[in-house]
Symmetry: C2
Subunit: 478 residues, 2 copies
Amino acid sequence: MNDAVTRETLIHRLQDALGADAVLSDEPDTAGYTEDWRGRYRGEALCVVLPSSTAQVSEVVKLCAAAGVPILPQGGNTSLCGGAVPPAQGPSPVILNLARMRHIRQIDAANGSMIVEAGCILKTVQDAAADVGRLYPISLGAEGSCQIGGTLSTNAGGTGVLRYGNTRENVLGLEVVLADGTVWEGLRALRKDNTGIDLKHLFVGAEGTLGIITAAAIKLHPLPTCHSLAWFAPRDPAAARQVLGMFQNACGSRLSAFEIMNRYQLDMVLANVPNRRNPLAGAHDWHVLVELGDTRDAEGLEAVLTETLGEAIEQGLVEDAVIAANETQRADLWEVRHSVSEANKKAAVGLTTDCAVPVSSVPEFIDAATRAVHAVVPGLDIAIVGHMGDGNVHFIPMFSFAAWSSLPDSASMGDTMRACVNDVAARLSGTFSAEHGVGQTGLPLMQRYKAPAELALMRTVKAALDPNQLFNPGRLVP
Amino acid sequence: MNDAVTRETLIHRLQDALGADAVLSDEPDTAGYTEDWRGRYRGEALCVVLPSSTAQVSEVVKLCAAAGVPILPQGGNTSLCGGAVPPAQGPSPVILNLARMRHIRQIDAANGSMIVEAGCILKTVQDAAADVGRLYPISLGAEGSCQIGGTLSTNAGGTGVLRYGNTRENVLGLEVVLADGTVWEGLRALRKDNTGIDLKHLFVGAEGTLGIITAAAIKLHPLPTCHSLAWFAPRDPAAARQVLGMFQNACGSRLSAFEIMNRYQLDMVLANVPNRRNPLAGAHDWHVLVELGDTRDAEGLEAVLTETLGEAIEQGLVEDAVIAANETQRADLWEVRHSVSEANKKAAVGLTTDCAVPVSSVPEFIDAATRAVHAVVPGLDIAIVGHMGDGNVHFIPMFSFAAWSSLPDSASMGDTMRACVNDVAARLSGTFSAEHGVGQTGLPLMQRYKAPAELALMRTVKAALDPNQLFNPGRLVP
């Protein structure tokens, strides 16, 4: 903060600009903004502001820039890596939460596009698209509370990536407030536009370090009207990979999900979440949920699912399989998949990782990471759950609560375990963060795994767009 | 050029670094590199270099940077807007052509990825993908001679965009030589990677102004094995738009092309290109080629094409239609579409434009641009041909050779006509360059149509990544 401006002065100026009710400065009011939803990260904020328009966002940026106070842009505060709350140390930022900017400015079904403000809840956007017979394909656990601006700033992934790509692939244009308060109006809803440097991709996935996304033009897709889902037990991850290839060849873009989990992960769900049933009769080491979707021909869809699985069984790749006979069964099987986080939280201390490797290397990744973890703690339980179709595997070493609390230095054990897993991913040309982002958790990993030339290039971009380190200083690029 | 370095000195240094056969400095040898293929743009080069490796590209960059001589990176020299040859005025650059870097470094069918060097011909890449049962979906007229590096640097479009997106959407990672000769190794072939600012999108579509792309990890898709194609006459562009919506709803991602042309454009093809036949019996004002593709079920594909067209005829949206009965007929109908450039070149002087608008606004665009052009020259012929599914319409005012040569100031007429069309696109939230890029043609249009804040942001990025204006100075951003 500049010497000339006190905290109180800045708060008064912000109140003058936005109205008193849009500035929260007292502890009980700000608590929900300064701590993450899992209670793992907490930091102080100078205050929380809730602008209602792009012009107000610009005003806040100018006032904070003049005062030398950093800004932390915030959406639904659903980050899994501490990306949405202030750091425990360092100067307290103004948290700029976009919740009040929640209008849908335009829906154009014929163009397959929608213009939404950053504070729109993801679920609201999905529903508005469905109302005009279109699909906004980004879907993830936090969709009922995360804001579209947060999903853009973190390039959110989820279960639709295999077919529709990440959030980045579903953006046509952006409106962004820059570090000097200028508004970049880039809300073009065009499928093709080759007029200069593509600026929108700078801000998507930049975790709020280069500007504040206030609105976006997003892509809508034809709405699939039928789905067909199976749960099957592949012989092992290599067999699962082969079956994935068979589905890609047979079904093309009908293939919309290919999710894998190991026996331990399924057992944790069955043991810890009420009303979850084992999809298959016997016990199997590996499980896959596969789903097809189409705009027509439900019978053909089930036929190709059945045929492909039949062929895989014949080739000895699949031990057992079940096809959802109706929408209820389909929902039940998805519930098993979606219960993973809840189950693991209850079951033990899970050291979550978020690696991706080339799909062809997923079996080797699982094998090598298991050996690396067991070299440190022989026989340790490991939950494995992943979006196999994207090469994204959450490989989670699990400690019982008792074992964890008896460790002399549990933080260091956590670091060691994650390094075991992330090192294997790096060796296989993979990444330590496929979808969760960098946030606070990943910052030291950026230093460890990124080439100096790549970090230098990112620092160059940051220095050019935000020379005074106004937006999220110290984040994303170490 | 720095005072201390003469042209001869630099050429000697380049010869020492690359070998004498990789440096062309005499007029007859360099002619194919300094003039564009249509003979419309020509400029001087200090010399042409043909490096064989990324290390050699880095060497050239360092030598030119030290000498203060700009570099023009060049692929297959197939630009439609003068983007690949030196300017007529200004300091002569070293042309760095990537033709000798043409290795396919890796194909991974299971991961759906390929790592290719920048000089690979697009057709070679398509064929290599097909050999492993996969599709690289970028397809365009110049595919037999354009280089993949050029398609990346210009974010090439073409006929596959409706289903698969532009080149940008089909890139996973890049290797780039930066302005100080540093090599950024970003060749990750991952579907998901959220670790910092996405640098690859800076270089895709930057037309060689920010760095030199030397290799890329590109996406491969399941290979469609059956196609079904129809040619039909919609009542008007608004009806065509409605039929497009019907196909999107019924066919989802099976829809792979939806190309429109007007009667004048078809007549030009029939009159000027041998062996092209009118697909329909009668005369119609508007024509659409629609194609579906799938990995299975050829019968189902033809059924949905027939059903959807039948419904459109019933609703009075379509006047007549024909379905290709076999591969020969399908190829013939595509030939009609692909003969447009050849026909127009022979027929008259065409003032090509390359606008895109939201798909929903295509009918209004065609209508308003026609009125604008006719307000200047009443009754002027206009060829209209476009990728309607992407909102990309080539709207081409046509002058007979006699009328054109009798104009007192034809250059100014060209500017006026293009401004008529581009102004309409701008009013409809569209763009003056959907797929051709900026090059030399579009530079004044950047100034005219881009908001100052957007140009300023682009200049900031350029200054940060290429502070000494080494790469293509003066291009892309005015």
